[in-house]
């Protein structure tokens, strides 16, 4: 297994459980280097001052917070140290709550906790007690120089420390325009329920879902590394036939929308209901 990110202890009440913290999620994203197309030289970044246009060495760089346009407050390493939380190396449990009461959007990043030899018993005890009561622990934890709130949850045989967002990081849904809880026609609800039923599965099986983009890109890279040429992408057809295809598609879609319009007009006329977009009263567009 990988290196522990940190080792410390879970504290609650008078109990201390020595633990190590391990990454639980790895990102699967491919990373690329930027190269000069001509000679494959690596692209280097330079830090250029916008005032004198010259490169700036690291020891001349300070951090500034723009509190007003063009106005900065400068903070030094000393300043940051003053407010940095003490690296206590501990997971301080503050309270316990029912797991169901936490909005899953608050969960950010999971880590595994592994007990040291003398902590195994207490670790198992905490895990079992949490499982039995269907509760999770809410804790305060410092990783490197940053303080987080986190949940400690039992998952299988492990305790997982899941970093959580602060309340102010969650965007309010009230900023969106959402339909309220209006009364919906029973027939439509029935249809919707039926659809859900027919598409339901026993349980979520993540293995079923493949990251196609990643796999295809990797296959391409491997083939190229071995000097094989890849089969041409299907999309790259000759431009001439592309035009022909597009013309057919457009002709057909125009035909269809024409039919739709004709259909809805007829409906409106026979039904005497005001149409949403009456073509006859549409305001004349002036020349653009």
């Amino acid at each position: 297994m990988a290196h522990a990110i940190w080792s410390g202890a879970i504290n609650f009440g008078l109990v201390t459980i020595p633990v190590k913290l391990f990454t639980a999620v790895r990102t699967d994203e491919l990373s690329f280097n930027m190269l000069h197309a001509k000679d494959e030289g690596r692209i280097k970044y330079e830090r250029i001052c916008s005032v004198d246009g010259k490169p700036v060495p690291w020891d001349e760089i300070v951090k500034g917070y723009e509190y007003e346009k063009g106005q900065y407050v400068i903070l030094t390493d000393e300043d940051f140290k003053k407010v940095n939380p003490e690296a206590t190396q501990s997971v301080d449990i503050l309270e316990f709550v029912d797991l169901d009461t936490i909005n899953p959007m608050f969960f950010d990043k999971p880590y595994y906790l592994e007990p040291s030899k003398q902590g195994k018993h207490a670790y198992a005890l905490l895990r079992e007690a949490l499982t039995e009561s269907n509760k999770v622990a809410i804790a305060r934890v410092v990783i490197r120089t940053k303080e987080y709130i986190a949940a400690v949850k039992p998952i299988g045989e492990a305790l997982v420390l899941e970093l959580m967002h602060w309340a102010e990081e969650i965007v309010e849904e009230s900023t969106l325009e959402l339909p309220g809880k209006e009364k919906l026609p029973e027939a439509e609800m029935k249809m919707a329920r039926m659809l859900i039923d027919t598409m339901s599965v026993q349980s979520f099986e993540p293995e079923k879902f493949k990251n196609k983009y990643h796999d295809e890109l990797m296959a391409m890279i491997e083939a190229r590394a071995q000097g094989k040429e890849l089969p041409k992408a299907k999309k790259a057809a000759a431009p001439r036939s592309k035009v022909v295809n597009l013309m057919d598609v457009l002709a057909q879609s125009l035909e269809e929308s024409k039919k739709r319009r004709a259909g809805s007009n007829g409906h409106a006329a026979s039904n005497d209901k005001p149409e949403k977009k009456p073509t006859t009263t549409r305001r004349k567009k002036s020349a653009a």
Partner: protein
């Protein structure tokens, strides 16, 4: 900082203009007062192009050599009487954005007073916001492209579309390029317009790949060719309005042209597009409008159906 305020009445609205002496075009000495005077002067011709189209301002608070920013949302201090519309964003999210509309001279004056040199508009209007008024092609010349090449390519676009029965109109972008548009009848969606634009683009590149490039990457593009940009058609995409000023020396204006003017450019032996188009600017455009009117207005703006054109193209280009 003390701000010089000048009260003014436009129509039935009272406005307070600021810093009219501020120079926005340093080489030419044109001030914000000049910009406002230009926009008010051409309002009768400009407003029909802006009316009910969601508007994005490009503001240059410190003139054309200073920083600029795009203002898509309502600008600060926008008076209550200015028309506006709330639209869902183009990405299809549920969130809505409120855009301002410029439907009268008073609003135009307010906008110009914000040092909004360039006016960008949607190609559809509020009432039929999902249906563009026209399909728009941006002909963008490479660095070494001459006026002759650019104008010849524009004529090629005109002739290709004429061969399937469509009439086109042309204007300078105000910068280096030309905008060619195909006015549409009602009822065509952005998707249909987009697809049509793509068909025309590929057909053109097929016929004249030497002078017409569809290459999006500037680095890979042939700099003596014309980049035929058909990707600016779409909901939420904007075009520099006809009679909008551009932030370049000489204060050039995006100006509708007659096709015989483009033919004359195609006969020129030398010259680069930017220099030629600089002749259409905030000093000359008002006179041109007084003399000829708006070449895109009235009967010239022929709203056209796409079905017959596509039917012809299917026969001719297959």
């Amino acid at each position: 900082m003390a701000t010089a305020r000048t009260p003014v009445t436009v129509g039935k609205r009272e406005l307070s203009l600021s810093n009219l002496d501020k120079v926005l075009f340093p080489r030419d000495g044109y001030t914000k007062g000049d910009l406002i005077a230009y926009y008010r002067g051409v309002a009768p011709w400009l407003l029909p192009h802006l009316r009910d189209c969601p508007l994005t301002l490009q503001r240059y608070p410190d003139g054309i050599n200073g920083p600029s920013f795009f203002e898509k949302h309502l600008p600060k201090g926008l008076p209550d009487w200015v028309a506006r519309t709330s639209l869902s964003s183009p990405e299809g999210t549920r969130a809505k954005t409120t855009y301002m509309l410029c439907n009268d001279e008073a609003t135009l004056t307010f906008v110009a007073n914000l040092a909004s040199i360039v006016l960008h508009v949607w190609t559809s209007r509020v009432e039929t916001i999902e249906e563009p008024d026209y399909v728009f092609f941006d002909l963008d010349p490479g660095e070494r492209c001459t006026i002759k090449t650019l104008a010849s390519v524009a004529l090629e676009v005109r002739d290709l579309l004429a061969s399937i029965g469509l009439t086109t109109l042309v204007k300078t972008s105000g910068g280096m390029g030309l905008h060619v548009v195909v006015p549409l009848a009602e009822g065509y969606t952005y998707d249909a317009a987009k697809m049509f634009a793509e068909i025309v683009a590929h057909r053109l590149a097929h016929e004249d790949g030497a002078r017409i490039s569809l290459e999006r990457s500037l680095a890979k593009r042939d700099q003596s060719a014309v980049y035929f940009d058909f990707l600016q058609v779409g909901r939420g995409k904007t075009i520099v309005s006809a009679f909008s000023v551009r932030a370049r020396d000489g204060a050039p204006v995006s100006t509708p042209l007659a096709w015989d003017e483009v033919e004359a450019f195609a006969r020129k032996r030398a010259g680069v597009p930017a220099d030629v188009f600089a002749a259409f600017n905030i000093k000359t455009t008002p006179k041109r409008l007084e003399r000829d009117g708006d070449l895109w207005a009235g009967k010239a703006w022929k709203k056209q159906r796409l079905e017959p054109a596509i039917a012809k193209a299917q026969k001719a280009w297959a």
